[in-house]
Amino acid sequence: MLKRLRSRLANGGWKWGIFSILMLLILISPVPAFSAPPADRHIKINASSFEYDPGVIRVNPGDRVTLELSSTDVTHGIAIDGYNLQVTAEPGQNQSLTFVADQQGTYRLRCSVTCGALHPFMIGKLHVGPNTLLLKSILIATLGLAVMIWTGTRQ
């Protein structure tokens, strides 16, 4: 077992070692601080079966966000992934949810009240700052592919 490992390392496994270190560095590196100062945002979201309008919301990290949910046909809700916050509203009775967008990233908004057949697929998106997960993933993938191609076709 150890002999195999040693021969693997000698053959080119060291390249994977470098990749692993680089990957870790990329993963733990913080994203450059976002320059925009936190602002107060009031966003009205219209919910119908089965989408949100606007379906995609962008805010900056640190913003104090108020989501006003306005249902247009039946009772809908919004549950924010990651933040674990919820709000529900019936048509004619808008409800608001206020929170500080301190977690950076992209989070799905899901309907939290059964509103018909496609209820589990009623989804919106909240972007808080740039999507660092996407950037890092693409970076790591490209690096990994490079190392793999560089290592060639060792059997």
Binding site: T114, H119, F121, I149
Partner: protein, 470 residues
């Protein structure tokens, strides 16, 4: 390649050979299946409160996609309830052979000895999936239809004709089982050569000849072995075993590569991409188009779906493969090698490289499934207490609220899975040998021919990242 014979571990061989654990699991699965059909027909039409939807499309699907297929290959097929009633009737017994059973025992037609019917069945289900996944009644009728077809197949044809040639789920389980770290193989082929009766295929008093119509001594890949363990029971020389092996060992074996399997890879990859957009995207018009079957929007959606998986995706891939072949044949050193290109025909190359899409497609399906499974797993608890939505509370969990699990972590898991899938696909592409059994061509040619394919895989992966994580 290193293999660990699991049947050497005390207890495992006995457990696998004994028919009881398998029978118990099969009966439980059949009971669940029957309950799903009953619940779908008589229970509440609200999908999230009906056993038929929650336990089939969330519970069983999670089990299948996240555990059974990646780790156990065709392990689910071993206990799947759909063929069981038909098989019990056909064999005339639940355990060991008792004598003749029912059925005509016809041979499956040669022309249909491929997975094209399974490809078609999967596409059919996929086109209606938005309704099937959300309507308990529709789900129940589809499951009941599977049951009826499976029973009919068992009574008309020999062995597990439904499983091998008709089941839409089996089509992709088979293909993706090439990735799994478990395999059923013979230990020593010379023992098989000396054994004339071949009871593993013909059957004996101890068990049935392979219901999957596989010849165990010839088993090289997992694709068509349903891990039913009959051959372990019938072999008088104890020459069959379950091996633990590296992931994806079957992918690089050049034998048995066919166009129908290649297209299955495209069907699975393409549908994962389309579902990621339609079901998990923020675009309501797509969801409504996929749901309103029969409407003009649905016809457009269906046409786009079919064009994407049968034309666009394979077409692009073919272009990538052809480019790779062209680029890697311009190498001046090749002049000395008899073949100018690594593969003698583009079709051969297309089929061979399509297997790189197996780990990519599996990763795509796992990443897609993670999102809706983790978000909706909590529906399982109330449904256990109230499977039909009739107001029962058998286990006092009927009021458990909906809570998405790991919602902050899910995108990270998805990205990780897609990354692993991409790297693995690239590795498979790089190791795709030129022809069955032939020695690989110059390493540099090997790499160059795979580059456009790797580019294709990257584009698909980044597209999926964009749909699922961005």
């Amino acid at each position: 390649m290193s293999r660990l014979e699991l049947t050497r571990i005390p207890g495992i061989k006995t457990a696998l050979r004994s028919r009881w654990p398998q029978l118990v699991l099969r009966v439980i699965a059949l009971a669940g299946f029957a309950l799903a059909i009953v619940a779908g027909i008589s229970g509440t039409p609200v999908g999230s409160r009906n056993f038929a939807i929650v336990f089939v499309w969330i519970g069983w699907w999670a089990l299948l996609m996240l555990v059974a297929v990646p780790l156990f290959g065709r392990g689910w097929c071993s206990i799947c309830p759909i063929p069981m009633p038909g098989e019990w009737l056909q064999q005339g017994s639940l355990l060991k052979p008792q004598g003749k059973g029912l059925g005509l025992g016809w041979r499956w037609p040669n022309k249909l000895r491929n997975i094209w019917l399974q490809n078609g069945a999967f596409v059919l289900v996929a086109l209606f999936s938005t309704v099937i996944l959300t309507s308990p009644l529709t789900s129940a009728l589809v499951l009941a239809a599977f049951l009826v077809v499976a029973v009919a197949a068992s009574l008309v044809f020999e062995r597990r004709a439904f499983c091998r040639y008709l089941c839409p789920v089996g089509g992709f389980i088979g293909l993706y089982s090439q990735v799994a770290p478990l395999e059923l193989r013979v230990k020593d082929s010379s023992v098989c050569a000396a054994h004339t009766e071949k009871t593993c295929y013909q059957g004996s008093a101890e068990g049935y000849g392979c219901p999957w119509q596989v010849f165990p001594p010839g088993l090289v890949k997992n694709t068509y072995c349903g891990t039913c363990m009959e051959c372990l029971r019938t072999c008088p020389h104890d020459n069959l075993t379950i091996n633990l092996r590296p992931f994806g060992a079957d992918l690089e074996k050049p034998s048995g590569r066919k166009l129908d399997e290649a297209f299955k890879a495209f069907i699975m990859l393409g549908s994962a991409m389309i579902y990621s957009a339609v079901m998990l995207g923020p675009w309501g018009f797509l969801k409504n188009a996929a749901y309103n079957i029969g409407s003009l929007q649905w016809l457009v959606y269906a046409a786009a779906f079919l064009t994407f998986i049968f034309l666009a995706l394979p077409g692009l891939f073919y272009a990538a493969v052809a480019l790779g072949q062209a680029l890697s044949s311009n190498n001046a050193q090749v002049v000395r090698v008899r073949q100018r290109r690594p593969f003698s025909t583009h079709r051969q190359a297309f089929i061979a490289f399509a297997y790189s899409l197996v780990p990519l497609g599996l990763a795509a399906w796992i990443a897609f499934s993670l999102s809706f499974v983790l978000a909706n797993l909590s529906y399982l608890w109330p449904v256990i207490s109230d499977p039909l939505g009739w107001g029962w509370d058998l286990l006092r969990t009927a009021q458990a609220p909906w809570t998405p699990y790991l919602s902050g972590v899910t995108p990270i898991l998805q990205a990780g899975v897609l990354l692993v899938g991409l790297l693995w696909a690239a590795r498979t592409a790089l190791r795709t040998p030129a022809a069955p059994g032939a020695r690989p061509v110059l390493p540099r040619q090997q790499v160059i021919q795979a580059l456009p394919v790797i580019l294709f895989c990257s584009a698909v992966s980044f597209g999926l990242l964009g749909l699922l994580v961005a």
